[in-house]
């Protein structure tokens, strides 16, 4: 049996400017997202992905259309009511991690819990569980500047989950991570959707994440379209062996007359440190 629909988006549009200068960043988008579903929003730069997610996260008012989150039409709520919706119903994961620099890992995770009516007491136990589950228990008193990129993003995910929101929005969560950390984060988000029943909407350029998605939405010129199949051309990164889409890969080099595709800059550097080691 299908899980109930958590998010209903109907004819959602967002325009910037007026008259001749009007730009439609999102154009008549409709979609349903069920609990426990992991959806990828992909598309070229400037296609309106972040605008769409910003509207779903109630951070940006749509020009038209409506968004029903857990049965509540959030587009009709006034500004004063939206912070409570964000605190209780939506978790955010950002590309740049966006942790509070002065707070420890544990305090960062607990930060949104203070916004709940029930307060911090219950959240402390949940924070402990999340620290364990995401492999951060030993780092609970560390401050963000001392964490690796992967650790920072795991803290950001734990922070997004502390209030047990039914919807998690992640904007390029693997964008600043090396291939291994990126894969870890992708798997954590997959588990969040599968185990916690949380709907996850993930905006990404990263083709490696496609494998974990239940659905992929292709956004182009602000509208959802069918993705062209010929865009895929899977090859293996010669350093770590990860699958990479040759058409969208950012790290490509010509070496000894051969085109080499890497999953990340780190793998590219490793390769050129000792090309002979990866010749086979």
């Amino acid at each position: 049996m299908d899980a109930p629909v958590l998010l209903e988006v109907r004819n959602l549009s967002k325009s910037f400017g007026r008259g001749h200068t009007e730009v439609r960043a999102v154009n008549d988008v409709s979609l349903d997202v069920r609990r426990g579903e992991l959806i990828l929003v992909m598309g070229p730069s400037g296609s309106g992905k972040t605008t769409l997610v910003s509207m779903l996260g109630t951070l940006l008012k749509p020009s038209a259309g409506r968004i029903l989150l857990d049965g509540v039409d959030v587009t009709r709520l006034d500004e004063a009511a939206l912070p409570a919706i964000r605190a209780q119903k939506i978790g955010f994961v950002f590309q740049a991690f966006n942790l509070m620099e002065a707070l420890t890992v544990e305090e960062n995770i607990l930060f949104p819990a203070q916004l709940l009516p029930e307060g911090m007491a219950a959240a402390r136990g949940r924070a402990g569980e999340l620290l364990e589950r995401l492999g951060l228990a030993a780092r609970r008193h560390a401050r963000p500047p001392t964490l690796s990129g992967g650790e920072k993003q795991r803290v950001a995910i734990a922070r997004a989950l502390i209030n047990r929101p039914p919807l998690l929005l992640a904007d390029e969560p693997t964008g600043n991570l090396d291939s291994q950390s990126g894969q870890e984060v992708a798997m954590i988000l997959h588990d969040v959707a599968r185990d916690a029943g949380c709907a996850v909407i993930l905006v990404t350029h990263d083709p490696r994440v496609e494998e974990i998605a239940d659905r992929i939405l292709w956004l182009e010129d602000g509208a959802l379209r069918n993705r062209r199949a010929e865009r895929h051309s899977w090859v293996r990164c010669p350093v770590c062996g990860m699958r990479v889409d040759e058409w969208t890969a950012l790290h490509v080099a010509d070496h000894e007359g051969r085109r080499v595709v890497f999953c990340s800059q780190r793998c590219r550097e490793r390769y050129f440190d000792n090309p002979a080691a990866y010749a086979a």
């Binding site: 409570a84 964000r86 605190a87 002065a102 305090e107 949104p112």
Partner: protein, 369 residues
């Protein structure tokens, strides 16, 4: 929320200390100005307070001593001494004069003392004798320190040369330092034979000073008589009228300076964390929660500045008194309360500046890498 802002403040200790020090500087200015004013106000009535007559008698219509002149026939002192309820009546001559000491010219109030009128003379001595004879003068110790003279030096009081025979304590104020000379010398200078300026009346034990003052005014023609407390209050009021506006103006400047420093530091603290504020808003923190935390942060900087200011003032006061002996500094509870009240107002006003900034931060900024 508050924890986050406080920890962020703590993380930027140098900036916190700089802000608090700036605020402290402004408050030190306010506290020192009040202390100078309080000290000077107290010193201006030092002679009246220490003379401690039960009733002061003077020319009709005169109500105080500072900047006043009074002439009463000398025989009236005897008449008053004979009234019921009067234990003693001590006349003094009193006049504003110019004194030249070691080439420096100073303004002073001279008190002319009859022989044996010790109760109207200096109340504490640093050196020498308290009662000047003819051709002698008792100066405030501060005068001697300022000019580098000592006992035996010769000074000119309105052209008359006198020998310094005593240095008194607590008789200096910037507005009216008091010197003591023989009544006959001052009589010569004032060309006021047969007159006195004030009569210090001591009441019999159990005699109400207000009743005695009323009796003196009834029985003795053309004099005003005021109890000590009323006479002192009149002098203080005059001092307040003369200095209060300047002090109020300086307090406003000091407070405005403190407000600007606090507002600027609170604003820069908040502006530096624009991105984190956007994140907090994106996560669901309301503007009013951030306002409250920013106000608490501003209050913290203010309180820290105020405490630093009080500590600095406490450390500076003895140093200032030693370096500038002519200034009398008195830190009153009223001055502290006033500084605290000013700090509170300053904090509230200052918090408004970063609060406006907070309101304008767009949570969408959190999405921009």
């Amino acid at each position: 929320m508050l924890r986050w802002l406080l920890k962020t403040l703590w993380l930027q200790k140098a900036s916190l200390v700089a802000s608090a020090a700036g605020v402290a500087g402004a408050f030190v200015l306010v506290v020192i100005l009040h202390a100078v004013f309080a000290g000077e106000s107290r010193q201006m009535v030092a002679y009246v307070r220490h003379a401690a007559a039960d009733v002061w008698v003077m020319q009709r219509g005169v109500v105080n001593m500072h900047m006043a002149s009074s002439f009463v026939w000398a025989w009236k002192a005897k008449r008053i001494a004979e009234l019921p309820g009067v234990r003693a009546a001590t006349p003094i001559l009193y006049s504003g004069t110019v004194i030249r000491i070691a080439g420096r010219t100073m303004i002073a109030y001279a008190v002319g003392l009859e022989p044996g009128a010790r109760r109207a003379g200096p109340w504490a001595m640093a050196a020498g004798k308290a009662m000047p004879g003819r051709g002698e003068i008792v100066l405030p110790r501060v005068f001697a320190e300022m000019t580098g003279i000592g006992l035996g030096a010769r000074v000119a009081l309105t052209g008359k040369t006198l020998e310094v025979v005593g240095l008194s304590e607590g008789t200096y104020s910037m507005a009216n330092p008091v010197v003591f000379v023989a009544a006959s010398d001052l009589e010569d200078l004032m060309q006021a034979r047969g007159t006195v300026s004030y009569i210090l009346v001591d009441a019999q034990p159990g005699q109400d000073p207000a009743e005695l003052a009323a009796r003196i005014e009834r029985e003795v023609d053309k004099v005003s008589a005021l109890p000590q407390e009323r006479f002192t209050r009149n002098d203080i009021q005059l001092a307040m009228q003369m200095g209060a506006e300047i002090i109020a103006f300086m307090t406003i400047i000091g407070s405005a300076l403190a407000a600007v420093i606090i507002a600027f530091s609170a604003y820069s603290q908040v502006a530096r964390r624009r991105r984190e504020l956007a994140i907090a808003k994106a996560l669901g923190v309301r503007n009013r929660e951030i306002y409250a935390a920013v106000a608490a942060q501003t209050a913290l900087i203010t309180v820290l500045g105020l405490v630093l200011a009080l500590l600095a003032a406490w450390a500076l006061f003895p140093l200032l008194s030693a370096l500038v002996p002519q200034i009398t500094l008195v830190l009153t509870a009223g001055a502290l309360w006033r500084a605290a009240a000013v700090a509170l107002i300053v904090a509230v006003v200052s918090a408004w500046v970063p609060a406006r900034y907070v309101a304008r931060v767009d949570p969408l900024t959190a999405f921009k890498g």
